[in-house]
Symmetry: C2
Subunit: 84 residues, 2 copies
């Protein structure tokens, strides 16, 4: 794997990991009042378009990062409905 | 501008826009207790690496999106310190 690809995977891991604390906090506190579902739908749409963009560019780091981000966003939306 | 580039810019606009409500809310409520600065530093690092990745790939949508994201993250961190 070449340097640029590793760089992209590290960048993607960091930007995806940054949303994990919010998910952990929501699960622990069983509270999701402060989270706007509209924001997560915007985020989901954006991440889905990035996955499509990644396929058009055959860019593994973009595809991998945004598939993970999609899963995290979907988890967050599910928590929002569960604890709303 | 070809379709793929437009697709990337739209995706980037959505994923960056998704963090704006949090900034507006923090500014209005003048409260930033619930926000972990560690998360924003992880996000900042990730976005900075994505900018570098974008340059290595000469990928305008990735560069543009992550420069905007960097600005939004920095704003959020500044609000965190101001209203902490």
């Amino acid at each position: 794997m070449e340097f640029t690809e590793i760089l992209g995977l590290v960048a993607g891991t960091l930007t995806s990991a940054a949303s994990v604390p919010q998910i952990v906090k929501t699960t622990k506190q069983k509270k999701a009042a402060g989270i706007s579902p509209f924001m997560f739908i915007v985020l989901l749409t954006g991440n889905a378009l990035w996955v499509y963009y990644g396929f058009r560019r055959s860019d593994i780091p973009i595809i991998a990062t945004n598939v993970v981000a999609l899963a995290l966003d979907t988890t967050m939306l599910a928590l929002k409905w569960k604890y709303n």
